[in-house]
Symmetry: C2
């Protein structure tokens, strides 16, 4: 048993013993997580945890703790946390714990390196390059050409798309700022993820220059509304520059009609981005990928393997059809870091493409899972998830006290329904019922994803 | 031995066996990493690794690999990578492998959760809150008040600072875009990190509106130059809004004089950001923290525990003195995710402060290291690193064929020197020698950090 007061010293045997004791805690945790009879969460309010639960103190002190206590801290941290890998854990966009992915993360942490140059992460940089190419092939870009990078989540990936679109249309903004461009407007669905709005604020477009598009009863963009709003914006003297089509919206799981949107983008020379953070995974399925038909016409795509594909958090890719734009947009030529006269082919260095400097290795777990499942393994996983959502849909559809939010089978794994409280069940359909139900929305509208 | 063709299935015993075999690979790797007689890197060119080294194929296939092969892939990935924890690995800004930090990362991966709300990460959200408060206390803000968030690296943290400054001075930019503001200018040292320049491009200021400040022979900003340039900008009708002071520059390890810069910021109502990504760690040392005197006057601070403090990558904090600005700047009120009517105190939810949606758990490894070392342990670590750099300085100073880049003891762990090739040693000091040396800079200028 480890009892030394000091932190583990490098290279000594009890260092390894300590690590193995942590592994013991972690494997026990994983075992229990997979056991349906355990709790998903033993909930406590913030003030309870802050006050210290049975000796578990979050406070940081001047003096070191014993390694014994560190092990207790590890156990307690897991004890009061959420078992996201539990079979009964349902989150909007992720669940489950893939063991190969987990092993990949452990290896990544152990390698503890950085994606910015080939010299510091030769294997990971190449894995990223090959995997991005594979993803572009699956999107349908000729020979998988183009560019891309893994970023810290879908919101940042979406932000990249707006940045790159701006650089393509108004490269002078990089040097002169937004005032060098005319008034630019962006378009996205009223059901799209809020990160598009965030990007418009962050990048200096302003949220009022993001125009929201109307959707049909299933939450899909109405292309005619896009065209009307583009024409309207142009008449006002604004310049439409960017359209986001969502492939798998957050709440409804809706797929915008990409081909029809692409026609309009081509007609008016606008950048087409597909936010497939959530729905991108369906590209792996021959049965379901038709829902993203037209994605090969996009200029950029966000695709988060950490959602539908079950890769541990974080793993999000931004893919760009035209090569050189990411680099042109983000390059600052910091000579002291990205020296052009290294002893190897520096085109493999990725630092100048990113808005980050150091960049976490997000690729390995995904690459390892792909090796382990094969492309067909991901396909099976996706098909299975969609079968399950159809199963749930049929279970709920005719159940007393439940109402589907929209008619017809789910397009994605989002199954949206209302639970109608008994007091409302006898009310006739209509405005009053709708309003009273809406007042209870946060309690009774549930979106389940597997 | 694991031989099943399928990926490990949840809950079955061979899943655990597989994980333990990975752990065996990892602990062997760590043992060898700490052994000075091993290589830091077995270098191969990109084309060599891409062609497949002794059967190590990076290609992704349709069919699954056996778990046996997955274990081989793990071994090969480590074999051709860089041992960043090796005693002889010297990188600009990080080195070593802290075992407690590593254990923290393994636990983080196993918990596989997300920082956006309290309900999905109760323990980690509180740890982040307490740790950020502690960091603000150490900076010297009264009662540790203020705000902050962990972000995916120093470049993003610095970007936050510019965003928040813009929001403070021109909140309307969030809605109306950069054209709603006058021509805003930013200031930073010519020696500062390129992320400030990147932020000015990304956020729509334009890189030409970032004004570079001259530095003295040690690479520190000359305050008079800042004031002159502020006056000059105002005369041109521009609005000076943001100044970055670097605490520990990337190459020289220089500390800008924060107090003198703060005087000028107060005089002209500019936001003062301190980029302490690299030098922030010195705040933990009673002996060295005076180099950051005045930091308590900053409006925001970047501080990366993953650099000087040895925390595994990634771990970077942006700290903001005024509460509410991060939220005001970044909030998009996405009702479906950040419901205000949850059953707990939702002020603990952090999602609306971030430019990300999902956010990786970067806090736990840092918190665990702090528990294990105590504040005094970090202090010892910092003091020891600076002692070592002074030792190296004395070793090199009078050595034949070497010249220090600047006079006097290093301020940080950067020890900057030239190696003078024999052919240049007899040349008298002067322009010719300097020029011929400069042509060889990438070969002979070395910055060592511990």
């Amino acid at each position: 048993m480890v009892t030394d007061l000091l932190p583990a010293k490098n290279g000594e045997e009890y260092t390894m013993q300590f690590l193995l004791e942590v592994v013991d805690i972690l494997t026990n945790y994983v075992r229990k997580t997979f056991d349906r009879s355990t709790k998903v969460l033993d909930f406590h309010h913030p003030h309870q945890l802050l006050e210290g639960m049975e000796g578990f103190s979050l406070e940081l002190c001047d003096q070191p703790e014993s390694l014994e206590q560190i092990l207790v801290d590890c156990r307690d941290t897991l004890k009061y946390g959420v078992r996201t890998g539990h079979p009964r854990f349902f989150n909007q966009l992720s669940s489950g714990l893939d063991i190969i992915g987990l092993a990949g993360e452990w290896l990544t942490s152990t390698a503890n390196t950085n994606m910015f140059t080939y010299e510091i992460a030769p294997v990971f940089v190449l894995m990223e390059q090959l995997t991005l190419k594979k993803m572009r092939e699956i999107i349908g870009w000729p020979n998988g050409e183009g560019d891309g990078i893994f970023s810290p989540g879908g919101a940042i990936s979406n932000m990249y798309s707006v940045m790159v679109a701006r650089y393509k249309h108004y490269p002078e903004v990089k040097i002169k700022g937004m005032t060098a461009a005319p008034r630019l407007v962006l378009f996205t669905s009223e059901h799209s993820h809020y990160s598009i709005k965030k990007a418009s604020a962050v990048l200096g477009f302003g949220t009022e220059n993001l125009i929201l598009l109307r959707t049909d009863e299933r939450g899909r963009v109405i292309p005619a509304d896009l065209e009307n709003k583009v024409i309207d914006a142009k008449q006002k003297g604004f310049v439409p520059v960017f359209v986001n089509a969502t492939a798998g919206s957050t709440v409804y799981g809706a797929f915008d009609p990409i081909n029809e949107i692409a026609d309009i983008c081509e007609k008016y020379s606008m950048w087409l981005h597909v936010d497939g953070a959530w729905g991108g995974g369906l590209l792996m399925s021959r049965k379901h990928r038709h829902k993203l038909n037209g994605i090969e016409r996009a200029n950029s795509v966000t695709w988060n393997p950490h959602k539908m594909m079950g890769v541990p958090l974080q793993c999000s890719a931004i893919l760009v059809r035209e090569k050189g734009l990411l680099q042109g947009c983000n390059s600052m030529c910091a000579g002291y870091l990205f020296q052009p006269d290294k002893q190897y082919d520096v085109t493999y260095d990725t630092g100048d493409k990113a808005i980050q400097c150091g960049r976490h290795v997000d690729i390995f777990k995904f690459w390892l899972m792909w090796k382990s499942k094969g492309t067909i393994g991901f396909e099976k996983h996706i098909d299975r998830c969609l079968e399950l959502s159809e199963y749930l849909y049929h279970k709920i559809k005719n159940r007393e006290g439940y109402e589907m939010v929209f008619e017809g089978k789910p397009q994605h794994t989002n199954v949206c329904f209302w639970y109608i409280p008994p007091s409302l069940r006898l009310l006739p359909d209509g405005e009053e019922k709708r309003q009273r139900l809406h007042r209870r929305v946060p309690l009774y509208q549930v979106t389940l994803c597997f």
